[in-house]
Each structure stands twice: as C-alpha cells, then as structure tokens.
Symmetry: C2
Subunit: 111 residues, 2 copies
C-alpha cells in the first residue's frame, strides 16, 4: 500500500492517485458506486474538465462523450473508459503545447 | 492556456499536467527531446514508478516494458505510448484497491 501514500509518492504516482480519487468522487453519488451514470458523468465533465470541454453543460455533449466512451453500451462509464478519456485528452493537450512551444522556438530562431 | 494554470486547474487537470511534466522531465535528457530512449525510460521507471515496478533496475524489465510499449519499434517511447503505460497501471492500481476495499466491506458485514 506504500505506493499510494502521498508523502512517499513520486509526481507520476500522485497523478495516478488524483485520477483514481477524481473518478470515485463522482461515481459514488448514485447507482453503481464504481461507474459513472449520465448524471455523474455530466457533473464530472463540468466540474473537472470545464476548461477543456467548454460546452459540457450541453446535454448533447454529455450524450456524445457517453456514446464514445461507453463501449459496452450499458449507459455507464467504468474506470477503464474514464482513463481512456483522460488519456486521450492528455495526449491532445500535450500535442497542443508542443505545437505552441515549437512555434515559439521557430519564431525565436527568426529573430 | 488557462487550463494549464495550476491555480485554476481542477484535480483532474492537475493530474493531466503532472503526467505531461513527468514525461518531459525525462524525455529531454538525450536524443529526441520528445521521446524516451531506453536510458531515459529506465530513469523514469526507477524514479517515478519504483513502488510499482520494484525490479525496474533489472535491464530485462526495462527491455520488456520498452518492447511492450514501443509499438512502432523505433527504440523510443513517445508520449502516447507513455500515457498507455500510465493508464494501464492506473487501472490495475484501481482494481487492486477496489478488491482490497471490497474485502474489507465483506469482512465488516460478517462481524
């Protein structure tokens, strides 16, 4: 269990712990406490990813994310499906910053 | 860029930021600064995941992780491959804690 103690955890282990904590913060609110219902998914998207998914308040957006993630079509998002969402967003975010950074470097070389 | 400012970031956004920071901390040390070489991967595994991967010091273990992750066989782990590793470990970690927690609940009901 030592790996989950924050005081000894590395930066990456802290990140993993934060993802686990975030999922269970929302998944425990109603129904199956180990999956996100539509209501819980919407709450998680608006509270945690509002900066990325500006229009998550839109019911269509929640339905779209649910449709994309819910690979077994049970109307619930499980932890693995949640991690796939977070992973895909993190890769997109990294690509964005690399592109931004790359453009900075090219501009710097021109000057 | 507001999404990456820690002071405004949600718990989940902080986790995403920590994963991006961790990758670039190691990927920038040698060669292509946007991928992990074998040496950089070993450094990352031992520094960041020592609690999970106890035997990452073992050269065979590093070779195995590299072989599993390096889907395009270029001897480098890119950011997407890194996120797949972290995601898989996080799912495994969550499963472990759910099982542990489930056992606790069953024991509590018996008493």
């Amino acid at each position: 269990m030592d790996a989950m103690k924050s005081e000894n955890a590395s930066t990456l282990e802290n990140a993993m712990q934060l993802m686990i904590q975030t999922f269970h913060k929302y998944s425990g609110n109603e129904g199956d406490k180990y999956t996100l219902s539509r209501v819980e998914l919407k709450e998680m998207l608006t509270q945690e990813l509002g900066n990325y998914l500006g229009n998550a308040q839109d019911k269509d957006a929640v339905e779209k994310v649910m449709g994309d993630l819910d690979s077994n079509n049970d109307g619930e998002v499980d932890f693995t499906e949640f991690i796939i969402l977070v992973g895909a967003l993190t890769v997109a975010c990294n690509d964005f910053f690399l592109e931004y950074h790359g453009k900075d470097e090219k501009n710097a070389q021109k000057e």
